[in-house]
């Protein structure tokens, strides 16, 4: 099974690896997946006062596709409003990285991670729907 160039590039040179201050009011953290299932993604966004995602960081435990999916979405969400970021679809991620069918769940997880990070941020700003963050 050959992986795409884009996927391998994100795996070998992951973008935006790292962590941000979890407690900070302008940071939203999404932690999704489970170690027992073989993948865990932590995605963090830093949101400006006018609702723009200024920075994003990730850490992922998982296969190459999971690492690449999370790396890709950190690039995609930067500069977007949280509403725009919330519209990123797993199918866009899967298409960009040309994920094989058995790896589609990695893109689903990446979408979930964005949504969880946004929920977490909204919860902090008092603008939340019911938080569904897996880590809480």
């Amino acid at each position: 099974m050959a992986y795409s160039k884009e996927l391998i590039d994100h795996y070998e040179n992951p973008r935006n690896v790292g962590s941000m201050e979890d407690e900070s009011g302008d940071v939203g953290t999404g932690l999704v997946g489970a170690p027992a299932c073989g993948d865990v993604m932590k995605l963090q966004i830093k949101v400006s006062a006018d609702g723009i995602i200024e920075d994003a960081k990730f850490k992922t435990f998982g296969c190459g596709s999971a690492i690449a999916s999370s790396s890709l979405v950190t690039e995609w969400v930067k500069g977007k409003t949280i509403d725009e970021a919330g519209e990123i679809k797993n199918t866009d991620i899967a298409e960009e990285l040309a994920l094989p069918p058995v790896k589609i769940h990695c893109s689903v997880l990446a979408e979930d991670a964005i949504k969880a990070a946004i929920e977490d941020y909204k919860g902090k700003t008092g603008d939340a729907d019911e938080s569904k963050d897996a880590a809480e």
Binding site: Y3, Y11, E12, P14, V17, S19, L31, V32, G33, A34, P35, A36, C37, G38, D39, V40, M41, K42, K59, T60, F61, G62, C63, G64, A66, I67, V102, H105, L109, A134, A135, E136
Partner: protein, 410 residues
């Protein structure tokens, strides 16, 4: 001398439990039997047939010799999967109306487990023994499982994923004492560790060609003559192989297996010593460079060519993508297409999150000292890189118990 550099398209082979390269001496021995000595070993009327038959009998002798059997007790098959099917189904069919209970173990190869499952559908009772944390069966469990209805105990000699050696001698003694047949799947053991069917009281043994530097597509089975084990064949036909396995024998493949057995007999002891040293170096080298790694399966009762290691906090498949210049396996090759962690590791009580971080490293005849150094270097570099990417590693460093978090299992 500079060590060889390996690449994605020319990777270092560290998967000797999946298969082994055919030894060039084996290939050489086989060669004439494709072309000039092409006769059907069952042709009784001319030189070509006799020549092929002679070669088959020499090969049979070598296989028998390696396990302390007589040549008449060895039959050739297509491989260990067929041998396992024949041993278990063949005995079940022959003796099933007298005894209908089979004992095996949950870490057996799929071809034993699935064969047993199929017999359950035919009304047989099967006991699947659990294993201890070190991967070995508990002899008391075996003793307790044997009843007067028990026909057969089928316990593998060496596990294909974790390389542990089951207590064959004790199992054999228990079986003999209780007049129960003892079958062992020795695909990973034949030619790797000393096996003597009389000393170990083995009644049937399955053997594979391609796990022992012989060709793929051939295997053998030892079937004891005294006391005699009788089997109903799976394949009916011309009655070759004492009626237990009809079909024309593939002379070149059989010759190859024979040659492989002959070489193993001569070289096994020295090879085991060398690989034991490599195994030790590899494990210690990795341990020195990477904290929190765990060996799966017993450290002592283990073939020298296998290490199965959990690299905590780094997912195995993700790790393999980073070490594409090493050909290793995560889980067993048969099941690695699925995303489930290995059933063997589960059976040892290895938790799923740790099972997902496991690699099987297989060493063999053509592994060199440089290869070991290279593997240590590459694996440790990549594990440490991926840990920097791992949220679980962060948590571990911060002293957060991963189990204390309520994960959304998906």
């Amino acid at each position: 001398m500079t060590a060889k550099t390996w690449t994605q398209n020319d990777p270092l082979y560290l998967d000797y439990q999946a298969t082994t390269p055919t030894d060039p001496r084996v290939v050489e021995a086989m060669a004439p039997y494709w072309t000039t000595k092409f006769g059907n070993p069952h042709s009784r009327n001319h030189h070509f047939g006799w020549e092929a038959e002679d070669a088959v009998e020499v090969a049979r002798g070598h296989v028998a010799d390696l396990i302390g059997a007589t040549p008449k007790e060895v039959i050739f098959t297509s491989g260990a999967t067929e041998s396992n099917n024949l041993a278990i189904k063949g005995a079940a069919k022959f003796y099933g109306d007298q005894k209908n209970h089979i004992i095996t173990c949950i870490t057996e190869h799929k071809c034993v487990l699935e064969t047993c499952r199929s017999l359950q559908q035919d009304g047989f009772d099967v006991t699947y023994l659990h294993v201890k944390e070190n991967g070995l069966i508990d002899l008391d469990d075996l003793k307790a499982a044997i009843t007067d209805k028990t026909l057969l105990v089928s316990i593998m000699a060496v596990n294909n994923e974790i390389g542990v050696i089951q207590p064959l001698k004790e199992i054999g003694a228990l079986c003999r004492e209780n007049k129960v047949f003892f079958h062992t799947d020795a695909a990973q053991a034949f030619g790797k560790i000393p096996l003597d069917v009389n000393e170990l009281n083995i009644d049937m043994m399955s053997i594979s060609g391609h796990k022992v530097y012989g060709p793929m597509g051939v295997g053998a089975m030892y079937v004891r003559k005294k006391p005699r084990v009788r089997l109903v064949p799976l394949i009916h036909g011309g009655g070759q192989e004492r009626g237990m396995r009809s079909g024309t024998l593939p002379t070149p493949l059989v010759v190859g297996l024979g040659k492989a057995a002959e070489l193993a007999k001569k070289e096994m002891a020295a090879e085991a010593e060398r690989l034991h040293d490599f195994q030790h170096r590899l494990y210690e080298g990795l341990r020195q460079r990477i904290p929190e790694i765990f060996l799966n399966g017993d450290e002592e009762n283990r073939i020298p060519g296998n290490l199965n290691i959990s690299f905590a906090y780094v997912e195995g498949e993700g790790l393999m993508m980073g070490i594409k210049d090493l050909a290793v396996s995560s889980g067993s090759a048969c099941t690695s297409a699925s995303l489930e962690p290995s059933y063997v590791l589960r059976a040892l009580g290895v938790e799923d999150e740790l099972a997902h971080t496991s690699l099987r490293l297989g060493l063999g005849r053509f592994t060199t000292e440089d290869d070991i150094e290279y593997a240590i270097e590459r694996i440790s570099k990549e594990v440490n890189r991926l840990r920097e990417l791992s949220p679980l590693w962060d948590m571990a460093k911060a002293g957060i118990d991963i189990k204390s978090i309520k994960w959304a299992e998906h």
